[in-house]
């Protein structure tokens, strides 16, 4: 066959083993005639071999578990983790809490309060109290509008207890989008930067006898929760306190919710309107 021009692309494709048929034959004939063409093919092949030699050891590295989970379709998008780095620690704490709370379901079944509510309250508390940048959506300096907003969004009158007598000042509040009903959250902080949260939501379907408040307590990983049902709402008070300390706060909260102070004026907390007998 007469000389057919062999291009650089032909040589490269030939060296990479990607030429077929007539073109392959013509390159074979060309490199048989010209030693310089053969040398270029050899160069490319040697370079390929060196590259494989250099890069193949990377394949032997141990697989990170998160990538195995992702390959099996068990993982969330990595992007989420990177967008929310501040939540990572709180989220892992929250997951630990969820696992611990789950085991308590059987023991708490008879309380009349869905245990998922207490569990969610603990998780929500862990998540937002650890958030340095935006623990609440509405800050304490707009307390009146916070109460109006929560009332409108939750469909029940929101009262924000005043806990200054106990050393806790209001940080602010937010609405927590739950699986079922929206949950209101108000957060307080003391001089030691310890944060407690009060969460509540409508619980008409909870099955608690009307007018009876059952106080229940549970704790996990240093976060205690008192929760109860009163009238038409379920409440959960959560914080890194021991049972006695948290109970003292819960009594004040319960008392103020049972007999809310007038919105404007007196900041002196009223004593509980009626004695409270925790049953938990």
């Amino acid at each position: 066959m007469a000389a057919i021009a062999v291009t650089d692309d032909d040589l490269m494709a030939f060296a990479d083993g990607q030429l077929e048929g007539e073109r392959r034959e013509s390159v074979e004939q060309a490199i048989a005639r010209e030693a310089s063409l053969a040398a270029r093919v050899t160069d490319i092949r040697e370079q390929n071999a060196e590259l494989r030699h250099a890069f193949d050891p990377w394949l032997a590295e141990a697989l990170p578990p998160r990538l195995v989970a992702a390959a099996e379709g068990r993982a969330a998008r990595g992007r989420l983790l990177r967008l929310w780095p501040a939540y990572a620690a709180a989220a892992s704490l929250a997951l630990g809490l969820a696992a611990g709370w789950f085991a308590r379901d059987a023991a708490l079944e008879r309380t009349g309060v869905p245990t998922t509510f207490a569990r969610q309250a603990a998780i929500t508390h862990a998540l937002y109290s650890a958030d340095q940048r935006r623990p609440v959506e509405v800050w304490a300096n707009e307390e009146a509008s916070l109460a109006r907003w929560l009332t409108r969004r939750m469909g029940t009158q929101a009262h924000i207890p005043d806990l200054t007598a106990l050393g806790y000042t209001l940080v602010g509040g937010r609405l927590v989008a739950g699986n079922e009903k929206p949950t209101g959250l108000v957060m307080y902080e003391n001089a030691d930067k310890q944060r407690i949260t009060l969460q509540w939501r409508l619980a008409k379907d909870a099955g608690a006898p009307s007018g009876e408040a059952a106080f229940r307590y549970a704790s996990e990983n240093g976060v205690g929760v008192f929760y109860w049902i009163d009238d038409d709402s379920a409440y959960a008070l959560s914080g890194p306190l021991d049972r006695a300390q948290l109970l003292a706060v819960a009594r004040v909260v319960y008392g103020q919710l049972a007999a809310p102070a007038p919105p404007a004026g007196g900041s002196v907390p009223k004593p509980p309107a009626e004695p409270l007998r925790p049953k938990g």
Binding site: W58, L59, G78
Partner: protein, 177 residues
Amino acid sequence: MNDAPLPHAEMLAAIPRMRRYARVLTGDSARADDLVQEALARAWEKRRLWRPGTDLRAWLFTILHNVFVNQRASARREASNVSLDAETEGGSGAWQVPVPSTQFARVELAELLQQVGRLPSEQREVLLLAAVEEMKYEEIAAALSVPVGTVMSRLSRAREKLRRMADERPATLKRVK
């Protein structure tokens, strides 16, 4: 329409190759793993688009490439005066030989990896896919959404640059043939 799960063994087998590709693209091991995780999650979301019997590796590479290009585009929008390539190609530690071999070969392989790291990312990825993964030019073109001619010209330029860099190596580091 196909809603079957992706083949388990093949997905696991693809991880090392995806990590290698991602590391070649980003020049950064930690970022590479983030990229792989994102690509795997997206593969599960889009699993209906994969046709059983076709090359799973090539499909995953396509997704990985697209995630990388999108992330780089948004990173450039955020910091338009910072070149991501210049930033990541510096001394990020990805271009290392992870498994010890003999002393001489180790130095030489490290040299080669450093040289690949100095290529533009478009040339690096084509070089990896063609020379190391031994994919067909047409497959590479499909994965990167570019014409076959572009694949070949990038590959040719990458090889030429590597050859020039090798010629500049000190004589003692050249391969003994």
